[in-house]
Symmetry: D2
């Protein structure tokens, strides 16, 4: 009796079809394709249309998530899902409808609502994925980074560069929700991530609720570097960018426009980028974070760029256009702009302003000389 | 009668299970998960094990492709599959057995055998994906880059940085095969690629068969920069790294070792990296290319690093170990080393040497401050 | 009669002397030296001790200038020396006593007191030399940089990177004095400077007296970059660093020390560096500017470094040691620390603090890989 | 009787004169100037014309030194001046006629002829000043850098980045002369130099006479970096750039011009820059080295740039124009081009070529954003 050896079936499936640019389907071609399958080979000529398109053709969809509904579900999770070691965080991520049900807002970016009940602690850990928090409303939580307690309040942006120990604790009597942004999908796809557990609970001393973190006291003074600190770290040493500063910077730009001086990105559109105070570069090597303000009744220019972004409406009402889609938006709403899809925002005529927080993956492409932007693209 | 609106089913599927770190499966939890699915949300706590592992856990498999079999199939393709506009190239790519049948050698890298019959031309195009050619045997093809004809012969390495026009033509009477390496999967996943067709056929003048390309005459002199040329281009302006130089550099290192001087990477293991002569950096922003030589009976140290590599045996015989796998290898064999999987090579005691060509994605991680290497890892 | 050609006498003068390391003085040597002189040649062996010392041996002297006396002389100049085109500025420079009467505080740095009477204008010009203003006392002058009026008040630091148009006008009813720092000696020695006259008087509109300059409204927000502005300029786009920020940054460091956290340079010694907010580097390519604060009764560590510095006492009283010299100092006093000479400062026990403004040439040496620092050197 | 204290006379000397842009000479002004002198102060208004000219106005003169005469005097020095510890080197430096008899070819550059008799050794030392050797004729000397013996032959360029131990020994039966270039004047003026003695004599083993140095075996392969070596050193790790390579690179450029392809700097003018193979930058942080070739009967364009250069004619005959001066030149002749003085070279109609070695201080100005070039300046 003959021995039988199990050969696992090849995952490669090739089909000879009659199509432009394709070889004529013949028995010889079919036989060749069987050989390819057996040897785990795939020809370029059947794949090139998908793999090498004339310009980025995102798998991801433009999509909008409503903040009210997110908050509601997060609140329910707050009641029935505990926070602790293992699950690590009560974070609920946006799953782009075109990315197969995975918790990926875009092919490279993770965006989640995180929710902490009064008195709760999220255990300490660290990971090489870069992260940040942005607070669209509420207060009461402190993020403790390497022992430095950082207050979180409406409008604050807290970068959390990779491989820093961090925990969260809610020192208030109300639950608090905020958004987390990370490069989890990018790290996942490129298989470059490390993760470690820290202490299950941070010390009493670290659970203080200071108004200003130590990082702000060291790095939060415009143009001033503390001589004792290294400046060329990969991620920003400044752990909170306060709303008062951001708001004033945006207001200053619009006032300069009113006075006839340069400052705005385009008519009626002010914007700042959160930067590493020691290098001037993006706050983290893989994630760019910005705040945009559109003046009452104004609009941004339409533009598209290589790489994807997630926006959250911070304040005001207006409408946004992402490729062929258009939505009316208000506080807290989150939406995705896929790679090379045109984006434009407009502030309502009866709203004083439209403030949009944005994060994206542009630093990756700039570092690799692959970034492109096209303004007024249609 | 009630109106019926078609809601496309959500791609999100969540299941409450009893497991450590997971919330207790209850009807309330199930209901919450239905809400998540409806709103396109995925909690971190069900995914964290997969998404945020303690260290890179590659989806890709270590795998070996035999050159003899590749060449045979490519030869059959040469007989029945024409080369021309649309399919663009007679290139047949390695499909990692654990990556779903896609033509991805690793999650970021493309590796293919390309094959050109005597007199054939591959039409001109350009793309932002970075590419190179490496010739394990044969000769007779010229790659024409921006009008500069570059000879391809055994041992030659030809980088082809993104967005340069290029075509190939076989000026000889024999078919020729070589390997192409590109960052197609990386560009595909990050959705950052552009592609354009050029001329269907290059001019007669460009079909010359010069021994040395113009790029070599400008940039191929050690340490000498042509004053008339810009030096800080993204990819290397030197379009061919000739085997005679590579071979001599490796031999020099082993001779220095014999004389008791520094030079080798470790005992019996010489290696050079192909670099951009104008910047000293990797030849291309996303791909690192190296040639390694192991002395008769010697071995490399075992090491692992963030990011993946593809190796091709250039000469000699030996054995290689990739994680838990081990293969005996000979000329032309190709194999994959996934992210963070230990690798070690050994030259046979009766072979004069083992020469391994290697390409990998390390420049991506170095640019983003995510690179790690561990030597003597087990 | 023979023609006589005038040969200008050679500036080279060589003398054969009996000394260690020198060739024996002989007639042959004398004759050789005459040949050298004739041909404009100088041997290394007679010069090496001076040219190649074991470590920097500054030609410059440590020296102190008293502010009261400077202000008095500047005031007299204010009464009798007009300001206008040609002389350009009523600036009176420190002349290091060991640098031959030239207006060089150190071999690379210029430091001057500038003085402007009520209603006076200093005409517009620009130069490639980098400059700054620092205000030890007073107010009322605006420096107009490219049309942007920048207020000058006690404690403010105003960088003025090369090749920007600038003028000054005194909008107050009192004279005002401040110090100017420039790299004039460095540019002079390396012969790399350009200079252009601008308008004799700036426009009425530019003579406004805004509290905040446009540059501050664009760049004066911590960690926030205006998206519309280029970030990688050679010099800082932020034209004023206000005392309130500097003071708070220093106070924060000392408070952190009190709480047991990192922040100070050494016990009792806080310091910040003024940096380019778009790059994190020094405010100007050739000049480093810092503010140091020594706590009541405290002292800095002693250190020395390659390159020279000029200090001005901003506040408090104390004593400083520069090499073998020691001075008691108070507000406004200026002193020089030559290259590689140890420096240490001490705050009086009955003074609340000692604040020292410092500028130096370290960026030159860092850019050229020639910088060295030695802490606790004696 | 009153006590008398000796006050050293001030080096400052000021004289009130009637001149445009100067304050009117009055007794009050004279009294003010006496006060300035006493306090070691110099006003800007008397100095601005010299200190801040519209464009660089070099103190240095354009000047030519004839090689035959240099060699003759060096030969005489060879006979009567020993080489050894203390004097260190039998090097005889060009003293620019307008720089006061100091051994400075230009304000930043040192250029000397060094001469070694058969069998002589120059003792080991190291210094932070950057250095190089260039060989216009002869052979037989090896420079030993950190134990690596580097052959010196006609046309070879040997960079010697700062702080490397080095010695020389003449292994031949003839004397040998070559030129040394250093940044001694720059380091001297900026007071940034360190110097250490090494061994009085290097070991027998280090006195070998290898054809190729270890550095060349590691780094002398075009575009190939030895994996075992750090790449981002301040100075080049390649210790010899051989004439055969330089000659071929220049010939290639002229051949490309003949074929109608880019490559030459301008018609008939080929040029290469010696670069650090690990970074692509200049071979040393402060000195740029290049080889220029002018075709028979051809000429370079005229240009001027910030910073100074020294040229040595390597081969051929022609004429050079430096500002208002013009010289006919031949092998070995050395001349100086001061800052911002136009330069142009022309090859004789009956000479096959004119080869010019050039070194200059441009990297200093590029690093500090102060470099400017003007082509076709008159």
């Amino acid at each position: 009796m003959a021995a039988v050896i199990d050969v696992p079936p090849s995952p490669v499936r090739l089909k000879a079809v009659a199509a432009p640019g394709q070889p004529e389907p013949t028995p010889a071609l079919e036989q060749l394709y069987r050989g390819f399958e057996q040897e785990l080979l795939v020809p370029l000529w059947t794949e090139i249309g998908d793999l090498m398109p004339p310009q980025p053709r995102s798998k991801a969809a433009a999509h909008l998530w409503r903040w009210e509904r997110l908050k509601q579900l997060a609140g329910e999770a707050g009641r029935i899902v505990p926070v602790g070691r293992g699950g690590e965080r009560r974070a609920i991520a946006l799953a782009n409808p075109a990315l197969g049900g995975r918790p990926f807002a875009t092919p490279t970016l993770w965006a989640a609502i995180q929710y902490l009940m009064p008195g709760e602690n999220a255990p300490e850990h660290r990971h090489t994925q870069h992260a940040f928090r942005f607070v669209v409303e509420g207060e009461g939580v402190w993020t403790v980074v390497g022992g430095d307690a950082v207050r979180m309040s409406r409008g604050d942006f807290l970068p959390q560069a990779g491989w820093n120990w961090h925990a969260h604790h809610n020192a208030a009597t109300e639950p608090m929700a905020w958004i987390d942004g990370l490069d989890i999908p990018f790290a996942y796809m490129t298989e470059s991530q490390f993760f470690e557990h820290g202490r299950d609970a941070i010390s009493e001393a670290e659970q203080g609720t200071p108004e200003r973190s130590r990082s702000e006291r060291l790095w939060g003074h415009p143009g001033l570097r503390p001589l004792s600190q290294p400046a060329d770290t990969a991620g920003s040493p400044l752990l909170a960018y306060r709303w008062a500063d951001t708001d004033r910077a945006l207001a200053d730009q619009l006032a300069l426009e009113d006075e006839g001086h340069p400052g705005v990105v385009s008519a009626g559109h002010a914007a700042v980028r959160f930067t590493h105070p020691g290098t001037g570069r993006d706050v983290m090597p893989t994630i760019r974070c910005e705040m945009h303000r559109v003046r009452r009744g104004g609009r941004t220019r339409a533009w598209r760029e290589v790489g994807s972004s997630v926006y959250q409406v911070f304040d005001g009402t207006g409408s946004v256009r992402v490729g062929g889609q258009q939505w009316r938006v208000q506080r807290g709403d989150l939406f995705v702009v896929p790679s090379w899809v045109p984006f434009q925002a407009q502030c309502d005529a009866d709203a004083p302003l439209l403030d949009l927080f944005r994060f994206g993956d542009a630093p990756i492409f700039e570092a690799l000389h692959q970034h492109r932007v096209q303004v007024d693209a249609e």
